[in-house]
Symmetry: C2
């Protein structure tokens, strides 16, 4: 269902009930650009730490605009044994609410815009009919302003923008305006004595309107209603009405209601995000880190400086996330899927060993045809993301004894994938762990090299030619990470470079330590985020109209084009992989088989294990489970939705395996990306 400013209000209840009844939600965003700064390969260095990546994305991507938001709700129908889906495609645009509301600026990246245009994206719909929105702070301020205006209004007829608190006396009318004002007063006196109820003055300047308001408020404190209206030509004029007390109150009430409605209109699309957030339902996305960042940034609050704070905000807004790109790149799926781009994934999960998911589009919703790809329409992308999730989730059921064809999104089998967001193009950290510490792979084989800006990749190859295959990850013009294939070569390389003048080599550990010290020297400002969460961001409002003057927005469109995440010739070039077939798969194999064998920190393993062991029961779940048929309908076990009831068995088994894994953790990371072997 396409939702614009024109039909938003009438669609809202449909959206709310779709979210309410859903078993899970899939989302996707389309953006006006990806990276405002270094080129994408520099933005996504293969050896970024999660903190560095977050900081880069925040800095270089949040000024873009998310202008299309796709939501597809999935509700499982037990009787039909299929999902009933409701896809929504929202066009979103920060149309200024009034002349005094913030005038958002956003960046467009011509390559992204060009790409979307080539996909038939309708910019006219976005810019002409996009649904407005406010973030939490803007909404609070608008409510405050409305409240203030209301209070001021209660004290007289004045429009607050013209009445300064000090001007309670008669207006100071400049000589040249006296005639004009006197004539207005005469007309109003005539209105009082005459039979007419209303008087329309001629259009006049803002200054004159101010004088009129002040003068009338002083001369006729009762019995008048004064209002500024606009002619068809957008000229502003004053309308004066004679009113008795009852009429005045009626008008007040009308005005109140109108204001409330305008306020809701201004909050606009943010209300949909609030509903998603409040539902606490599982939110599925594909390569969704940027989607999550943008959603929070546009509809909640500016992103916090610190990654840890971001994780906390994210958990407030989206308590349960699942990234299908991460899922597809992880055991047991990574063996089956060699290209995790959304379009390819969608094709692969329709074929054996996967089963194409059964679904039906709800009545009244236009149905998408997956054969006729409508990729890069957010609603469609959300829809197929949800399908991919369903296929993969159900595939997990085949490992159970007896096998199950349907796995509920509330099943424990899915848990290991919760709240881990895929990290694009990081060699040894596949995901950002929203609910715990991130993986800290050892990078003993990595060197930090600085050199003259004339150097090219070939120069680095030449320099390290004695030390076997290398991988170069450019940082900027004059520095790069060089990963050696053999860690024992590191010390030798360091030794030979000792007297070099044109370049300098540091171990990765030294580099990180240096950065840390630099950061400490800069004396980071005290944190104040964690406690209040996003509701009261610790950004002080800057000047202007009471709104912070800043740009908002962002987006990852291109990442999904073709072999994203694959070693391309731009950032990753010249690294010879063991085999030259798959793209994403290649990366993970490389990762599992090489550098990362000893990369797991016990801290992380514990986090992982804790998560899979934590009891996850309907009681403690934030998901309102009342509408779920699980355990309430007899025979509902048939298709595997009744996972809850099997908990004891499953947990017992898992417990065993988990113990085993704990002792294995330091031996191999591959287990990290496997779904725990509970079946």
């Amino acid at each position: 269902m396409e939702v614009t400013r024109q039909n938003f209000k009438e669609c809202l209840s449909t959206v709310y009930s779709a979210i309410d009844e859903a078993d899970f939600l899939a989302i996707d965003g389309e953006f006006s650009g990806i990276s405002d700064g270094p080129n994408v390969s520099a933005l996504t260095n293969g050896l970024d730490t999660p903190e560095e990546r977050y900081t880069k994305l925040k800095k270089h991507s949040m000024d873009f605009l998310m202008f299309q938001f796709g939501l597809c709700t999935f509700k499982y129908d037990q009787e039909k044994s299929k999902y009933i889906i409701k896809p929504f495609n929202f066009y979103v645009f920060p149309k200024p609410f009034s002349r005094t509301s913030p005038d958002i600026k956003f960046i467009c990246q011509s390559s992204s815009i060009d790409f979307l245009a080539s996909q038939g994206f309708d910019f006219n719909k976005v810019f002409g009919h996009g649904i407005p929105y406010l973030n939490q702070e803007e909404e609070a301020q608008l409510r405050e302003q409305t409240e203030e205006r209301r209070n001021q209004h209660a004290n007289g007829l004045g429009t607050p923008s013209f009445i300064s608190p000090s001007s309670k006396g008669p207006a100071h009318v400049p000589d040249e305006q006296k005639d004009f004002i006197n004539k207005v007063v005469e007309k109003v006196e005539a209105l009082f004595s005459g039979a007419g109820k209303t008087l329309d003055l001629d259009p006049c300047t803002g200054f004159q309107r101010k004088l009129i308001y002040q003068t009338l408020s002083w001369k006729f404190p009762k019995g008048l209603h004064v209002e500024t209206l606009e002619t068809e030509k957008k000229e502003r004029f004053i309308q004066i009405s004679k009113v008795d007390e009852e009429e005045r109150r009626r008008r007040e009430q009308q005005k109140l209601e109108k204001e409330q409605e305008e306020l809701n209109n201004a909050v606009g699309f943010s209300r949909v995000i609030h509903a998603i957030s409040k539902s606490g339902k599982l939110v599925v996305g594909h390569n969704m880190l940027l989607d999550v960042m943008h959603t929070i940034h546009q509809f909640y609050c500016p992103l916090p400086e610190d990654l840890q704070d971001f994780k906390e905000v994210t958990m407030c807004v989206f308590p349960r996330l699942l990234d299908t790109k991460l899922m597809a790149s992880t055991q047991p799926f990574k063996e089956l899927i060699n290209n995790t781009s959304l379009a390819e994934l969608e094709k692969q999960v329709k074929e054996a060993p996967f089963k194409p998911p059964c679904f039906e589009t709800a009545e009244g919703f236009p149905s998408y045809d997956t054969a006729q790809e409508q990729l890069h329409e957010a609603g469609y992308d959300a829809f197929i993301t949800g399908l991919c999730f369903v296929s993969m989730a159900n595939h997990l059921g085949s490992f159970l004894t007896p096998p199950k064809a349907y796995i509920s999104p509330r099943s424990k089998l899915i848990e290991p994938f919760f709240n881990k967001l895929f990290l694009m193009r990081i060699i040894d950290i596949p995901y950002l762990n929203i609910t715990g510490p991130d993986l800290q792979p050892k990078r003993d084989h990595v060197l930090y090299v600085t050199f003259p800006k004339e150097w090219k990749t070939s120069d680095l190859y030449q320099l390290f030619s004695a030390f076997g295959n290398i991988q170069v990850s450019w940082i900027d013009d004059t520095s790069a990470f060089v990963s050696l294939s053999q860690t024992d070569q590191v010390q030798i390389a360091m030794n030979t470079s000792r007297y070099a003048e044109s370049y300098k080599i540091q171990t990765y550990a030294d580099y990180i330590q240096g950065k840390q010290q630099e950061k400490e020297k800069l004396g980071q400002s005290a944190k104040s985020w964690g406690e209040d969460c996003w509701v009261r961001p610790h950004y002080s409002s800057s000047t202007g109209f009471g709104y912070p003057r800043r740009k908002r927005s962002i987006s990852p469109i291109q990442g999904e084009q073709g072999g994203e995440g694959a070693p391309t010739c731009d950032g990753w070039n010249n690294y010879s992989f063991p085999d030259g077939t798959g793209s994403k798969k290649m990366k993970f194999e490389d990762l599992g088989g090489k550098a990362n064998v000893e990369a797991v920190e016990s801290k992380t393993s514990e986090g992982w294990l804790k998560m899979t062991e934590s009891s996850y029961s309907a009681e403690s779940s934030p998901v309102p489970d009342t509408k779920s048929p699980e355990g309430t309908e007899p025979g509902s076990c048939a298709d595997g939705t009744a996972t809850w009831h099997q908990t004891p068995t499953v947990q017992g088994r898992k417990g065993q395996k988990s113990k085993k894994k704990k002792s294995d953790a330091s031996e191999s990371t591959t287990s990290l990306f496997e779904v725990p072997e509970v079946w």
Copy 2:
């Protein structure tokens, strides 16, 4: 005529000939925003110096995109006694030329986008089919790259991006790729011995393609043509063809021609601007400063730091400019026109004492209907701007004896308006003088006041209540200019403030001096602009793909909405004008009647007089005059086009008046805005 990427090439000759034959050109641009920074009223402080204004516009407006360019050519048809017009509406978009070309980012301002959307602006046409363009530096670099690639290509088959200068030996093929490469070599050997002419390899990775190029270049230095092509699915594969020397040369030639064409396509819309520039014709615009700045910025070079340099660049690109907003605000028109917004001006110049201009749309061009306003489409705005110019120019003919109904755009009567670009919302400097020093009004009655950021306009009123009417021009949160109505109050105000702690008052002169000293302390970098003009801007290319990585673009849409230039309640509020009628007119009256009486510096007057006195003959004119009928056709005097022949009389008269003016200059500025009284 609507011109997009799709019909640009076929329209280009039509555009060229329209420019060639025209008597004058009118232009207009539409932009993605106006001000990226302070709100517009802060951006356009009423007491800006021209330097300050230029710096602000450059800083806060150039990151927007000019995405529609209107050109309307006007050619006078002697026989029909009317103008033949050819309107063009170009959609412009910086579509990246290739994967390595600059990926332009531009800012959109939601109020501007919202406004254009409400006017039915077609964003899909801009983003989907906009004509690409390059500035001079980008074009030069692209030509250089092409040249380089050509030279490298001449030395072998390698694609330069894969062949580093050092790798002349056999390619280093990693072990795991050896099988793959050996198979390719076998296939090529089979191609040589077989009957087939062409061999398509399977799609493979960039790294593998690199290895193939290197290996084949080494093993088969002759007789092969190797090319990378794309499948329909955008997968890249290598095609190898057997070629003899003649075939090879033919392919080279084809490739050369294709490259040349691609290069021209990439330069795209800039070619239109080059043609306008080369023609040297009079270019008319309405409130055109931002149009000129954007045009130079997008299609020629980044704008210089310094205003003087900007003026020089402008004269290189547009040797003769005329701003109809400035013309309409100047004698003898300012008495006749009380609203100089384009829409209002267009209406007024159709009515007495003006005569609606006679025109006819050239065959093959869709004709605009001025009754059905299509304002804010650049082509239409350019068109009516031209009409306004024609009406006003012809009106000048009514002052001649005998009166003339037609005044040529080459007439001396127009000269006083040349190269003076309207300055929005500056109280006492109506225009930027592109070909001379700017007006330097005295600002003895102006005070620079700093205060706590809680202060509002009312606080300033209170503070200065003893000194008569004031005008407040906000600079930022904590400072403003306060203009007193009586200069003799300045010293008293200064004295009373001496011991104030919460605020501080400086005279305007002191303020300017302080700023100047600050600037000198910062030690401005040496100028290098003036001499080379724009062809070689003194910006060194930054890193990246050989293109400077920067954003380009901009725009003044809103300025033309409603009473632009008028004292509104935002920036100018609370200043009581002598009368409350017209808007623009009001400003100028205020200016003439008040502060500015002694504002003319003799330097400026001389500039003005020099300009009006300079002899302006067809010989010295850069306008190719061959097609002009003036003086060549007998009887052409009838409608006033033969102004040239009256030169002696006119000059004699003008000389007299000019002398008078020289002595008057220090008494009244109003004469500054009058067309010299040559009639």
